[in-house]
Amino acid sequence: MKSVLRSAEPMFIIGIALIAINVLLAFLAPWISAYDPIASNSEAALQGPTGAHWLGTDMYGRDVLSRTLNGGRYALLVTFLATTIAVAIGALLGCLVAFLNNWVDDVVMRVVDAILSVPTILALLVVVAVFGSGMWVIVLAVVVVYTPAVTRVVRGAARSVSSLDYVTAAKARGERAGPIVVREILPNVLDVVLVEYAMRASWVVLLISSLSFLGFGANPPAPDWGLMVAENRTALTVVPLATLGPIVALATFVIGLHLTADGLGKKLGVDRAMTGVQ
């Protein structure tokens, strides 16, 4: 990691920095925000930026800055959990089926294709409608729709790895599938997995903000970026910062993830566009 950073290009550094700032602010939000993000104050509703409220207030008189800072907590936590689980499962499964390269691969890939062919939002809505809209349900829903995609990407990369001689050597030694996948294949698609992680995370952030926007994600009055946009967008002309604040936070985080993915890809020699082919 150190060596990655040392010779990294500025864009990559900026990417890491944007992520770090967002994560740090979200983490510290309860301590650094000046106001309770859900405490309403009808006297102060719909204010522009002032010394007291740097980004103004929303229709309930809640401090937009405090809400924006806290709004990242939910999004980032869900993103982290969902992406980690989806990528972990997808990576293992992708490596395994690539290695097996038999009927199991066929069956898994058919199911993967079938899930991928169902529109993401439909799949998400159905999961959310079945289980309610708690945080873990959103995580589950994202895992359900994104694991197949990760599986496919990693499988592509793992296929080329599993035809390499050191895997053949392990097979010839008579190693079992488990150790081969874990020792020989997985470490060598880790670069692809890492890049995929960053990319996937950026989509997850956008996806859950869309869900919140549609009313399926975070619950009011909780501060959440997507929800804040949904609540304040009709007031865009009156208090533009109430909408733009969370959007800028969201967009910088996503941009950070993209830049990081690009940088990682270049650094690790994973051509992101071609992930899966060597």
């Binding site: 010779s7 390499l164 001689d165 050191y166 053949t168 050597a169 392990a170 097979k171 010839a172 030694r173 008579g174 190693e175 020792r183 020989e184 470490p187 060598n188 880790l190």
Partner: protein, 595 residues
């Protein structure tokens, strides 16, 4: 060897006036981060029209970089630090864009190493040749295109012109590249490892073609190769390059008979030789050549293959067809053949990576009280003992080691898996094995990327040894290595084999290498054995026509000409009555008829 000495003196041939190509004091550096790494240093040479100049050297010597400057091409990030490259009277690096375009393909044409990748996959052959003409303002009729294809002796040119590159064989693809290069009648032809990717027979034929065409067109030709034989057969003058410098530059005959530079001498010594084998090879150890006694001593059969047939697709042509062979204890059996001959398939089946379709493969027990077993079964059904008896060494040392695991982890894995030594002794055993393959014990901590190609191959050998095998299958293990490294590895393998009493199945496409290391040789073609016998007997002949063409195709350093035109087409067929001729001494030749 002194590099300083080589800079002056005979190296810098004066550029004769009117030379088609003259390169003077060329230096090129590559920017790596902030540093500039010199890749070519003060290189000078010239080529007259009708002459062929050879640049030879090992990988990384800068020979390709030099060659491509003739087309004013530099790798991204590279920079000319000094010197000039002139083609005719033009200084190529100062040409304006339109003149540069006229130079490329018009005045100077390139034939690159891998025609499979150098041809645009989405365009038909005819179209690609056609545009080589039109791009230089020449009228191009269909007839001219066909004529160009005919000139490189492609069959069925009308049909050929309509095909896409992937529908051609490697040799045909290279011929198309040549047609494309010569069609606009260039003054200078640059051949960058033009035959490296080809089988020996095809290589000989393609080189013959190029040489004839160059003479016909009177081009000034630059040929770059790592293969001393190829350069020897093609060039009038040869320069040896190392680390970006020309070490010596002599007329071909002089270079090979009286090399002036120590490095050149080393290179020549390390090249495996076929026809000069009567004089024991430098690496040979007396006991290896004792022939009959050896045979007697090791006539105990280790592996027996009977009527082995291996098919990939049921109903399709078998990749290996009714092969019968034996590997004796302690011997090195080589299998020689071109790609697709089935030699690797057979090896992989022995290693248990693939099941046999029919026939039996058996390994005998014995020596260490081990039980024998059926090698027809894939690895999953083999006992642990059986698995450890057969070990593989791979062609490509780059891919045979897991880049994410240390050397010692790689070697330790078979120790653990086969329980060769108790866990407490694993570390010591790993160090012992490393020492045995000639690596410092401290290398255990390194990752494969921190090793050179030769060192990696040594680790591969150590890993195979760790299992304590009876049979080692060496699958083209030196193909990816430079000549000097190859010699070391072969020597190492031979030594280990003697001390451990191992049997080796040595797979190779290179007869010269085989001649050096093997006791017996099997020649395969199209999945079938066509000839088998002790190395001397096979080299001495008589031979099966296929073996004969293989032998004839070998170009050795010092050969000043190429084999006369060889047919790439098969001129024989199996005798429908079957059967073998047996000239004796275990030498057997499959009966054949002219096709």
């Amino acid at each position: 060897m002194s590099i300083d000495a080589s800079v002056s003196g005979p190296v810098q041939a004066p550029a004769p006036a009117g030379a088609a190509v003259s390169v003077e004091n060329l230096s090129i550096s590559y920017a790596a981060g902030d540093a500039l790494v010199p890749v070519v240093q003060e290189v000078s040479f010239s080529i007259a029209a009708g002459q062929t100049f050879g640049l030879v050297g090992e990988s990384g010597s800068g020979k390709s970089t030099v060659a491509r400057t003739l087309l004013a091409q530099l790798r991204a990030g590279s920079k000319v630090m000094g010197g000039t490259v002139k083609v005719g009277a033009q200084e190529v690096f100062s040409l304006p864009a339109p003149r540069l375009r006229a130079l490329r393909g018009g005045t100077v044409a390139l034939v690159a190493q891998n025609a499979g990748q150098a041809l645009t996959p989405s365009m038909r052959i005819g179209g690609q040749v056609h545009e080589a003409l039109t791009s230089h303002g020449m009228a191009a009729s269909r007839a001219q295109v066909l004529q160009a294809l005919d000139q490189v002796r492609l069959p069925n040119v009308k049909d050929m012109a309509r095909r896409y590159p992937h529908e051609l064989s490697g040799g045909q693809q290279q011929r198309v590249s040549i047609a494309m290069a010569i069609v606009a009648r260039p003054d200078v032809l640059v051949l960058d490892e033009p035959t490296t990717a080809l089988d020996v027979v095809t290589q000989a034929a393609v080189l013959r073609l190029i040489k004839d065409l160059c003479q016909e067109l009177q081009t000034a030709t630059l040929i770059v190769s790592h293969d001393l034989g190829v350069v020897s057969g093609m060039a009038d003058d040869v320069a040896v390059m190392r680390t970006g410098r020309i070490l010596e530059n002599q007329p071909t005959a002089a270079l090979f008979t009286s090399p002036e530079n120590e490095y050149t001498r080393e290179l020549l010594r390390d090249v495996p030789k076929l026809r000069t084998r009567s004089a024991p090879a430098a690496t040979a150890v007396p006991s290896e050549d004792e022939g009959p006694e050896d045979e007697a001593a090791t006539s105990e059969v280790l592996v027996e293959c009977k009527d082995v047939t291996i098919s990939y697709n049921p109903g399709g042509p078998p990749a290996v067809d009714s092969v019968n062979l034996q590997i004796h204890r302690g011997e090195t059996l080589a299998i020689v053949g071109e790609s697709g001959s089935g030699k690797s398939t057979l090896a992989w089946t022995l290693a248990g990576l693939r099941g046999a379709t029919s026939g039996t493969l058996r390994v005998e027990g014995g020596s260490a009280g081990r039980a024998g077993g059926d090698l027809g079964k894939p690895v999953a059904n083999r006992s642990r003992e059986l698995r450890r008896m057969v070990q593989l060494i791979f062609q490509n040392a780059d891919t045979s080691l897991n880049p994410r695991r240390t050397v010692s982890a790689a070697i330790r894995r078979p120790l653990r898996l086969f329980g060769t030594v108790p866990r407490s002794q694993e570390k010591a055993r790993v160090e012992e094995l490393l020492t045995e393959v000639g690596l410092p014990a401290s290398f255990g901590k390194r990752l494969p990327s921190q090793l050179s190609g030769g060192q990696r191959q040594r680790v591969g050998i150590a890993r195979a040894l760790a299992a304590g095998p009876d049979l080692i299958i060496a699958d083209e293990i030196t193909t990816a290595l430079d000549v000097s490294v190859q010699a070391d590895i072969l020597e190492l393998l031979a030594g280990l084999q003697r001390t451990h009493g191992l049997s080796t199945l040595f797979i190779s496409h290179d007869l010269a290498v085989v001649a050096d290391v093997a006791d017996r040789v099997v020649v395969m073609k199209n999945g079938r054995m066509v000839e088998v016998g002790p190395v001397e007997a096979v080299l001495a002949g008589p031979n099966h026509p296929y073996s004969a063409s293989l032998l004839a195709s070998v170009i050795e350093p010092g050969d000043l000409d190429l084999p006369s035109a060889l047919s790439e087409e098969q001129t024989w067929m199996d005798d429908p009555d079957g059967g073998w001729e047996e000239p004796g001494d275990g030498h057997r030749i499959r009966k054949w008829k002219d096709a």
